[in-house]
Symmetry: C2
Subunit: 381 residues, 2 copies
Amino acid sequence: MFRFRIIKRDAKSLARFGLLITPRGAVETPVFMPVGTQGTVKAMLPEMVSGLGYKIILGNTYHLLLRPGPEIIEKAGGLHAFMNWRGLILTDSGGFQVYSLAKLRKILEDGILFQSHIDGNQYLLTPELSLEVQLRLCSDILMVLDTCIPYPSDREEVKALTQLTHRWAERSLEFWQCQKTEGRAIFGIIQGGMWEDLRGESAKSIGSLPFDGVAIGGLSVGEPCEIRNRMVEISVSHLPEEKPRYLMGIGTPLDIVDAVMRGVDLFDCVLPTRNARRGTIFTSQGLLSIKQAALKEDFSPLDPYCSCYTCRNYTRAYLRHLFMSKELLVYTLLTLHNLSYYGKIIKTIRNSLTKGTLQELRDHLATLYSKYNQEEEDGSE
Amino acid sequence: MFRFRIIKRDAKSLARFGLLITPRGAVETPVFMPVGTQGTVKAMLPEMVSGLGYKIILGNTYHLLLRPGPEIIEKAGGLHAFMNWRGLILTDSGGFQVYSLAKLRKILEDGILFQSHIDGNQYLLTPELSLEVQLRLCSDILMVLDTCIPYPSDREEVKALTQLTHRWAERSLEFWQCQKTEGRAIFGIIQGGMWEDLRGESAKSIGSLPFDGVAIGGLSVGEPCEIRNRMVEISVSHLPEEKPRYLMGIGTPLDIVDAVMRGVDLFDCVLPTRNARRGTIFTSQGLLSIKQAALKEDFSPLDPYCSCYTCRNYTRAYLRHLFMSKELLVYTLLTLHNLSYYGKIIKTIRNSLTKGTLQELRDHLATLYSKYNQEEEDGSE
């Protein structure tokens, strides 16, 4: 059985410390999920990811549907066995990647018609097909298909697409109830664009359906973070207390603590992994570019306050050398460090929550990241 | 002190089982050295390399001279500290890479004038500079600068370049005797092209100088393997028994056993690592291409007789998926497997040598690799 239990509430904010309990193990929340788009957290052995304390990762249905295809992963015994991952897997519905990556996309009442960005093959992704694929992947937490709404969009378009998302949510639940789903969870997704009333209605509508959890979708599409925070507040205000809340695709450490204080429990984001591959490092002093010439003879670790494998064994000078030489090892070493940083941040958030010091942590993270905006998500990891 | 001790000789061939004894540890020979061109064995954590039983790797002086530069590695405490490698390091002289990679190369009496393939900067690599760089890298086994000779070349050219190599060898020893070199070893290099008499003279000449070991250079430049084997035989026949012999840049498992039976002790080659990155896998049944469609639903390991980390945890179908998706993790997993294979081959060679069954092993490897020729070396790893 899948359950969510709230262990402790913050007295000064809406933050909650909770437990996701599943047949595959329990996960403390707030939790951050590294992104494993194509059946791998890029450049990481699965043991490295679990060794950093991560117990749940995200897989992308769109990518795995196109390659290698759900039938192969099903035959392999599911995505966990296929990729040698012993923790939990949450899969998205594919809707966001169809929106951001696919060619010739067309939204129909029945689903989304699109062409693969890999081979041009045509697919019709329906709410039912998305769940069927996720079930074949053996996902632990499945997301329903939603429609992605560009920002800015006019009110009528947002309204129509949000209502379509609601109809798909109901179809998804009908389909779900006829499947073997024991031990798995299904999450609905709120849309509503950046219109406060439409967001509120969407949250009310999705929150009232018998989903195991609710995701806040359609954010991190280029909106200012004040608007995003407001949309999170409105969404959460209409959601039932007892269900886990997942803010999709977000964000910087500051974004995450801001959302935790507004009542969000689950997060995923490509930032730690993608930034690592681009040479941007998270440190206790803020961001560091590994490319800068100043590091050429810097024999200190990436972060003097970090004890990850990379910081224990390698210098900035060496990592810069590998990066400038495009040596494969550097992507592993930098990703490991950035994921270690995110793992510590989310743990610190949980600790601060139980100690009642979230605001102090938030103020500290604001000094490091208030000027750093996550780029618009493009779903590509 | 650096020493080489021969423990056992094969009764049926010239093969020897020996020990390289250095202040940084002892290494059994015949030994295979993975190539770590730019201060990293590509896509491998150093612990993965040592975990496979490797105790010595090769570093490329040409690459490290150009980037990051010997002064940085020296300040880092040497190449071992820089790259977090606790074993031994043999460095080449840079001559071969200048020959194969640099632009506008000109061989002068004093050394080789060339332009960096990275930034076009001009360098004059002399025998003295090569050793100075290798000493600053803190190499355990240093190679003298030699001249590389294209194949085929006319006799006069081969003769002139071989004689220049000999003059450089003598200059190298003069320079060496004025340096702090305790615990380090210096190897001379035989040239002579594919001319039996010139090879023999070169071996006699280099073999008579007070080097700690002797390398057989100028092979794997496009010659048929019968000629190569003959050149190895001639070289070895003129070398002192008590010094270790190193066949540079070679080769397939069959090439290695052939050279072991002709009296060679040390080997390095990019084949296991480069092939891995290109999707060509060494298995107990011969070569396997990871790209082939037949592996799409093949849930067996790369090699059913292999117990490496990759074979214990991943299927051909998964590795093919990662390879087709250009996922970084695959280069690590395939390199680990291929290096595991080479590690087992060289161990089997040592075991067969002590049991007197080298010929049987050679016959077996011939069934797997007699049609597989290593591509011409290009020094790029």
